[in-house]
């Protein structure tokens, strides 16, 4: 109880409240504009938050992360263009509803389902906290190494159909973090005698290049386009009543969001597709799915909004980010010398509770904001894409240059920007590079620190948690091989689609 109060106290500051408002409302706007996603916004703002208090900076970034999907549903429903990548499935049922003249119903239902998912996710996080506080200290170096390894494997395997590409990019990410002076042996690694490489390749520079600059290049090299969304009329609160008729679907979808959000590498996409499949299979009207089914819309939106809270679980409890946005947030913790992991629950539990309350507050702020400002957002999303590209390019400079006023950083970021553009054009994933860098660093440090306690390789898995993690790795790999064999036998040609253009926004 004391901790809860301390957490609440953390939020009761004008700068935190302001950061919460800027983050959550800014996040909705960013999410609503096709072309900028939370990853671009967080990458740009990241260095600016380093000068702020950890709770202020994290609240702002968390606000953007948690609220962007609310905004992303608007263009998904109204113009069949998802605002953020994870709203892709929303357009499946949202847009047909708009075509039927039910735009108001679809948008308000999307908001209500998002709110349901968001709050459900946070409640799970709060209820799980005592368990996390109990389990987290059982994670020593070996367990964290194995958890990070499991994360890398899942990230690679989650990119079905592009596993080789995801594998090479994740490995490339691991390589990038090895460049520079080795912290233990003080030997140079792949510096080619260049002093600027001795300090290594900075994660923020890579993130800014791959997410922000590449997006600027992408928009600037594409033909200009200005999305045109029609205004919506009617009371936005109507969706809440309708949602209550589909409580089961919303709750199960949120449950999928929570469970899959916790597992590194899986996240929103898997949660959405599993909930969507569930909703369709258990629906009285399965044929309506894909043609404007409210249940499909609810399943998709409730699932993706439950993920941000759940994704905080491996980040806070183990210091292991499951996807790009939490990987970026990890650097905010490090800059302030707050190391997420088992100790966080013992030493900084007030910060953890503060973040929980911030998540609840941001969902409420966003919901209230959206009830009154949907039509304003339909005007904002008309920003021409090339203009957006110019602005992202100018803003990326703030992010890269403010780190250490280095022109070299700008050049490296520009190089990664071009790499990011190529990956986006090829529809190859960017996230494995970032997770490779972060998880690769964790794996190297933790494997080294566990070495003195290992006499034989079996000592690596002689503790219960490490054994479970090792078994999980084997199960994941075995399941993947099984799926491959099944697919090989079925051998069905597939149709092309753009659903996985996750890196586009």
């Amino acid at each position: 109880m004391e901790n809860l109060l301390a957490g609440f106290e953390m939020l009761a500051r004008w700068d935190v409240v302001l950061a919460l408002f800027i983050g959550s409302i800014g996040g909705v706007i960013i999410g609503a504009i096709p072309g900028v996603g939370p990853a671009v916004a967080i990458a740009i703002l990241l260095p600016a938050t380093f000068g702020l208090d950890p709770i202020v900076g994290l609240t702002m970034l968390l606000g953007i992360y948690g609220s962007s999907m609310y905004g992303g549903a608007i263009p998904a429903v109204l113009i069949n263009t998802p605002g953020t990548a994870v709203n892709a499935l929303t357009s499946y049922d949202g847009y047909p509803m708009t075509q039927r003249g039910e735009a108001h119903r679809a948008v308000s239902l999307a908001y209500s389902a998002s709110f349901w998912g968001g709050i459900f996710g946070i409640l799970c996080l709060i209820l799980l906290s005592p368990v996390l506080a109990l389990v987290a200290p059982m994670f020593g170096s070996r367990e964290i190494f194995l958890a990070a390894l499991l994360g890398i494997i899942l990230v690679i395997l989650a990119h079905r159909g592009q596993i080789f590409a995801a594998g090479l990019l994740a490995m490339f990410g691991i390589f990038l973090q090895t460049v520079g002076l080795d912290a233990v042996t003080y030997t140079q690694r792949y510096t080619f005698g260049q002093s600027f490489l001795s300090s290594g390749v900075n994660l923020i520079v890579v993130v800014l290049g791959l997410f922000a600059l590449s997006q600027a290049f992408f928009l600037l090299t594409e033909p200009d386009n200005s999305p045109d969304a029609k205004p919506v009329t009617g009371k936005m609160s109507a969706g809440i009543k309708e949602l209550l008729k589909h409580k089961r679907v919303a709750t199960v979808a949120s449950g999928f969001g929570v469970v899959l959000g916790m597992i590194p590498g899986t996240g929103e996409f898997t949660a959405q597709f599993m909930s969507y499949t569930y909703a369709q299979k258990t629906s009285k009207d399965p044929d309506a799915f894909g043609k404007g089914s409210p249940e499909g819309l609810i399943a998709s939106e409730a699932a993706n909004n439950a993920v941000p809270a759940a994704a905080m679980i491996p980040l806070l409890a183990l210091g292991i980010p499951g996807e790009a946005l939490t990987a970026m947030m990890l650097s905010v913790f490090y800059v302030h010398n707050v190391i997420p992991g088992p100790q966080l629950f013992q030493n900084n539990i007030d910060l953890v509770y503060g973040l929980y309350f911030a998540l609840i507050a941001l969902n409420v702020i966003v919901m209230v904001f959206l009830l009154f400002s949907t039509n304003l957002l339909t005007k904002i999303i008309r920003v021409p894409t090339r203009f957006l590209g110019v602005m992202i390019l100018l803003l990326s400079f703030v992010g890269v240059y403010s780190l250490r006023n280095s022109l070299t950083d700008c050049m490296i970021a520009a190089g990664f920007g071009v790499l990011g553009l190529i990956l986006k054009r090829l529809n190859l994933p960017i996230v494995p590079i970032i997770l490779g860098m972060v998880l690769g660093g964790i794996m190297e440090v933790k494997l080294r620190s566990s070495m003195p306690r290992l006499k034989t390789p079996f000592d690596m898995i002689d503790r219960p948690i490490s054994f479970i993690l090792f078994a999980l790795i084997l199960i994941v790999l075995a399941l993947h091989v099984r799926t491959l064999i099944k697919e090989w036998r079925a051998h069905e040609p597939e149709a092309d689609h753009d659903l996985h253009d996750s890196q586009m926004r």
Binding site: A48, G51, Y92, H159, R160, G161, Q162, F164, A165, G167, L168, M171, F172, I174, F175, T178, D182, V184, T185, R189, Y190, F192, L213, A216, F217, L220, T221, F269, F273, G290, F387, G389, V390, L393, L394, L395, F397, V398, Y401, S402, N405, L407, C410, A414, G417, V418, L421, I422, R425, L426, N427, L428, P429, G440, E444, L447, M451, A495, D496, H497
Partner: protein
């Protein structure tokens, strides 16, 4: 085709034109880096394998090379998609904007953050095809908002321009501190 697809099919990613060019490039690059491992990393005699400074570069570059080779093979075995070189040309075209970005970073410490940002916003807007006065004015105003937000209000660590030094006393101080 039904719009509702199975979980598996929704997870597939598909090849785009130019995939094989990227596959060749990344394979060549990773093999080149791997060939330098003896020069670019050290081996400590007597140390455990997993604690060697060479261990992780070797694992990661070895992994990159193997996956890149597999990616290349799968790309080579797939049907050819039209428009490969047109796509590669577009990648090269993006270098122009990378150049704009580096030039912007190069100019700021001399000319100052505010004038450079406004000038680049206008120049880039013209470059990408905007000609209407209203769009150009909006570009310039957006640039001013970016400067005020990050430099004036958030006091983000950005350099003051050398050119500001030649301004009259009072104005110089304001420009150096806020813009």
């Amino acid at each position: 085709m039904s719009r509702v697809q199975t979980l598996q099919s929704l997870f597939k990613r598909y090849r785009r034109p130019g995939d094989i060019v990227f596959a060749w490039f990344i394979l060549g690059f990773s093999v080149l880096l791997l060939s330098q491992i003896a020069d670019q990393t050290a081996w400590r005699n007597g140390g455990k394998l997993f604690a060697q400074p060479r261990f992780w570069p070797a694992v990661s570059l070895g992994g990159t090379s193997v996956f890149a080779a597999l990616h290349l093979i799968s790309s080579a075995l797939s049907d050819r998609i039209e428009g490969r070189w047109k796509e590669v040309l577009l990648w090269f075209k993006s270098l122009e904007y990378a150049g704009w970005f580096i030039a912007y970073a190069l100019v700021v410490p001399y000319v100052g953050y505010l004038p450079t940002t406004v000038a680049f916003a206008l120049a880039l807007a013209v470059r990408v095809g905007y000609r209407k006065i209203s769009t150009l004015v909006i570009s310039a105003l957006s640039a001013v908002v970016i400067v005020v937000l990050f430099k004036t209000l958030l006091k983000v660590n950005l350099p003051s321009g050398l050119m500001y030094e030649s301004l009259p006393d009072g104005l110089r101080q304001i420009m150096l501190t806020y813009f």
